[in-house]
Amino acid sequence: MRKTLFESLTHGVLTEPAPAPDEAGLAELAQSLNRAARARLGRSLSIRQVDAGSCNGCELEIHALSNAFYDLERLGLRFVASPRHADVLMVTGPVTKNMREALLRTYNATPDPKWVIAVGVCAVDGGLFAGSYAVAGGVQDVVPVDLHIRGCPPSPTELLKGLIALLRQTSAKTSAR
C-alpha cells in the first residue's frame, strides 16, 4: 500500500485538461435552459444514470468518467444513487418496451428543474435496434431530451464535452435567448 501511495504522489497527476464544450451541444442546450434554472443551480449538477436498454457499452464509458484521467467530480458533476437527488438524467440505450415505464417513473421522480441527456446513437432513435417489436424508440420518444451525446459508445472525452456544455449553460450569467 505504501509503495502504491508513494508512487501516486511522485508520478504526477494523471487527470487531463478538460475539453472545450461541444458546440452542437451548446446550441441544442441554449434552447432548453432558462435563466431561473441557471441561477438556481450554479456550477454543480447531480446526475442519475438510467440504462433504458443499452448493450452496456455506454455504461462502460460513463463509468470511465470517474477514473483518474477524466475525474468528473472536479467539474462539479457527480453521479447520485437516486433520481430524487438528481438534476440530470443521463439515459442510454434504445428505450425497450420493457423499460419504458421504469424510465418514465424515474423521470417523474426527478425534481424540477431537470435535464435529460440521451447518450449513444441508440438513444437518438433506437439505432441498430430501431424497428424491433421490443423497442419503443429513442429516449425523446418517451421523455423530453435536452442534449444528445452521440457515439457508439461516445468516448469519455465526448461525454465530457457534452457535460461541460451543459454546465456552461446552467452557470451562464446571461440568458442565451
Binding site: 443499452s54 452496456n56 457499452g57 477514473n67 417489436y133 421490443a134
Partner: protein
C-alpha cells in the same frame, strides 16, 4: 464419451458445421435429458427455431459437442427443465418468443415477455399481444420474513434488472431474479439481415464482450460458409479478445474491492483499464474494438503505433499489477469481506455448466480457448487457473491469474503475428448452411448458432451468453449471506443483463 453415443437419432443434418447436428424423435430427446440429468453431459444451449427446438450438448469431459433438434408437434416438446433445472429459464424464454411449450415444465411463468410488446410469440407463430397473468414470485415461508424489492433501476451505473430478496433481519433467505428489461429483440432483428449487419448486431449483444460476440459470430459464419480467416486476422482477433479480457478483469477486480469500500484498488485498476482501452484505441481505432472483427477476418489492420502502445501497456501492467495483487492479498479488512462470502457449490457449477470465473472458481475447469481450442489458442502457451473454494475471493483470484495469462498470451501474439491478408472474401454459398461458433469471453463461453440462406442472409441466429448459466447460481450464492454483501457477490459474478435479455 461423445454425447452423441447412444442417443438414437433420425437423421444427421449435412450442412451443419463444425460439430454434428442430428434430428431426434421422442426417444432421442428423452435420452439426452437423461444424460443431462445424470451429469453425463452439459447443456450448452437450448433455443427455438420456428417450430423446432435445438439443444447443444457438451461431453462430460469437454470432449465433443452435438446439437440435437426436435420438431414440435402442436407446439409441444418434452421439458428438459423438468429433470434438468438449468433449462428452466431457457424454456420460459422459448415459450415467450416462439410459443413452444415444454410439456411437464416446472415453471410456466413468462420470462422475457412482460406484456408490453404489441405481438405475442414474435419469433414463432406470432399473434396479437395478450394481457399477461400477474407475475408471482416464488414463496418463502417462515417467521419474521420480509421482502426487499430492488430494481429495475439500480443505484449505480449498471444495467437494469429486478431482485426480490426475502430476508430474515439481515440474512437473505431467498433471492429471486426477474430479468428481461433490456430485451431488444436482437434475434428477430437478425432474421433477414446481411452478414455485415448481423455482425454489428452480434457485437452489440453485450457491449463489454463486443469482441467475443463478434468473434463467435464470425466463427459461426465462416464455418457455415466453409471459409477460413487469414492467419493474421486469426491472431488479431485473439489479440483483441485478450485486450477485452484485460480491460474487464482490471475493471472488475477494482469494482469488487470498491464494493468493500476499498477505493484505492478501484482507483488503481481503473487506471490500468483506461490504459488498456487507450491501447486498444491506438491499435484498432475504437476503445472497445467494436466492429473490427467481421466474418472472413478483420475489418482493419492493427496500427503500427498501436503495437508500441500495447507493449507499453504490458510493461505498465507488469510493473503495477503485482503490487496491487500484493495489496489485495495483504489487506485483512478486505479479505474479511471476500473470503467465505457468496460461495457457489461445485456441484451446482457442474450441473449448470457455469463457465468463466464463476465455474473456474468452483472447480469447473472449462475454458473454450483450451477445451475447444479454436485458433490461435491451440498453438499458444497458457494455463487455465482453477480453484475450489468458490467464494468472492476465489473469483477475484481467478481474474488475477487470468490477467497474468492474458499478458503472456499477448506477448506471444505480438511475437508471432503473421504477415498477410486481413480478410477472406465472403460469398453466399448458394445453399442453406449452418455454423456453430463458441468463444471464451471474459465472463465465460459465448455460443452463436447461425443458419444462412443461399443468398448469404441470416435465416436464424441464436446468441447464448454465459450469464444464462451463472445468474441462477447467484441466487444460490447469496442464500444465508447478509443483504449488505449482495453488491459484492453480484459484482464478483458481473453477469450480463443485455447479453442475457437479448
Amino acid at each position: 464419451m461423445s454425447p452423441l453415443d447412444n442417443i438414437p437419432y433420425l437423421e444427421k443434418v449435412k450442412a451443419h458445421r463444425p460439430w454434428p447436428r442430428a434430428i431426434v424423435g421422442d426417444d432421442g430427446w428423452r435420452q439426452a435429458i437423461e444424460y443431462l440429468a445424470t451429469g453425463r453431459c452439459t447443456l450448452l444451449g437450448l433455443w427455438g427455431d420456428t417450430v423446432n427446438v435445438h439443444m447443444a450438448l457438451l461431453g462430460e469431459r469437454f470432449d465433443g459437442i452435438i446439437v440435437l433438434s426436435y420438431a414440435c408437434t402442436n407446439g409441444h416438446y418434452p421439458s428438459v427443465g423438468a429433470r434438468h433445472p438449468p433449462a428452466i429459464r431457457l424454456e420460459r424464454a422459448i415459450r415467450d418468443l416462439f410459443g413452444l411449450d415444454a410439456v411437464g415444465a416446472p415453471d410456466t411463468r413468462t420470462w422475457l415477455d412482460r406484456g408490453f410488446w404489441d405481438v405475442r410469440h414474435p419469433l414463432g407463430k406470432s399473434g396479437p399481444a395478450q394481457k399477461p397473468a400477474p407475475y408471482i414470485f416464488l414463496p418463502a415461508e417462515g417467521e419474521g420474513l420480509h421482502q426487499i424489492p430492488v430494481g429495475p433501476v439500480h443505484a449505480s451505473i449498471i444495467e437494469p434488472g429486478h431482485f426480490r430478496f426475502t430476508a430474515n433481519g439481515e440474512h437473505v433467505v431467498r433471492l429471486e431474479q426477474r430479468l428481461g428489461y433490456v430485451h431488444k429483440g436482437i434475434e428477430s432483428l437478425m432474421v433477414g439481415a446481411t452478414l455485415d449487419d448481423a455482425a454489428k448486431l452480434a457485437g452489440r449483444t453485450s457491449g463489454d464482450s463486443t469482441v467475443a460476440y463478434a468473434y463467435a459470430f464470425a466463427l459461426a459464419a465462416e464455418t457455415a460458409l466453409r471459409i477460413e480467416a487469414p492467419p493474421r486476422a486469426v491472431y488479431l482477433r485473439a489479440l483483441m479478445a485478450e485486450l477485452e479480457r484485460l480491460a474487464n478483469h482490471f475493471g472488475d477486480i477494482g469494482a469488487i474491492c470498491n464494493d468493500a469500500s476499498f477505493a484505492i484498488m478501484h482507483a488503481q485498476t481503473s487506471i490500468l483499464r483506461e490504459r488498456t482501452l487507450r491501447a486498444a484505441d491506438a491499435g484498432f481505432g475504437h476503445r472497445l474494438m467494436m466492429d473490427v472483427t467481421v466474418p472472413g477476418g478483420v475489418a482493419r489492420d492493427i496500427a503500427a503505433d498501436g503495437i508500441a502502445e500495447i507493449k507499453a501497456l504490458l510493461a505498465e501492467a507488469r510493473h503495477v499489477f503485482p503490487r496491487l495483487v500484493e495489496l489485495y492479498d495483504n489487506t485483512a479488512s478486505l479479505q474479511d469481506r471476500t473470503v467465505t462470502t457468496g460461495i457457489v457449490k461445485p456441484d451446482y457449477v457442474r450441473q449448470w455448466g457455469a463457465g468463466g470465473y464463476v465455474g473456474r472458481a468452483s472447480g469447473r475447469s472449462f475454458d473454450a480457448r483450451r477445451h475447444i481450442g479454436y485458433a490461435p489458442y491451440d498453438r499458444l502457451d497458457f494455463e487455465v487457473p482453477v480453484r475450489e473454494d468458490g467464494d468472492v475471493n476465489a473469483r477475484v483470484w481467478i481474474r488475477i491469474r487470468e490477467v497474468e495469462q492474458s499478458l503472456k498470451l499477448i506477448d506471444q501474439m505480438l511475437a508471432g503475428l503473421p504477415a498477410g491478408d486481413l480478410r477472406t472474401a465472403v460469398k453466399p454459398s448458394g445453399e442453406i448452411c449452418e455454423g456453430l461458433g463458441i468463444t471464451e469471453a471474459f465472463r465465460g463461453d459465448v455460443l452463436v448458432w447461425l443458419r444462412l440462406g443461399g443468398n448469404g442472409r441470416v435465416e436464424r441466429c441464436h446468441l447464448r451468453d454465459a450469464s444464462w448459466f451463472q445468474w441462477p447460481l447467484l441466487e444460490t450464492a447469496i442464500e444465508g449471506n447478509i443483504v449488505a454483501d449482495f453488491p459484492i457477490c453480484n459484482k464478483s459474478f458481473n453477469c450480463s443483463y443485455s447479453g442475457h435479455d437479448l
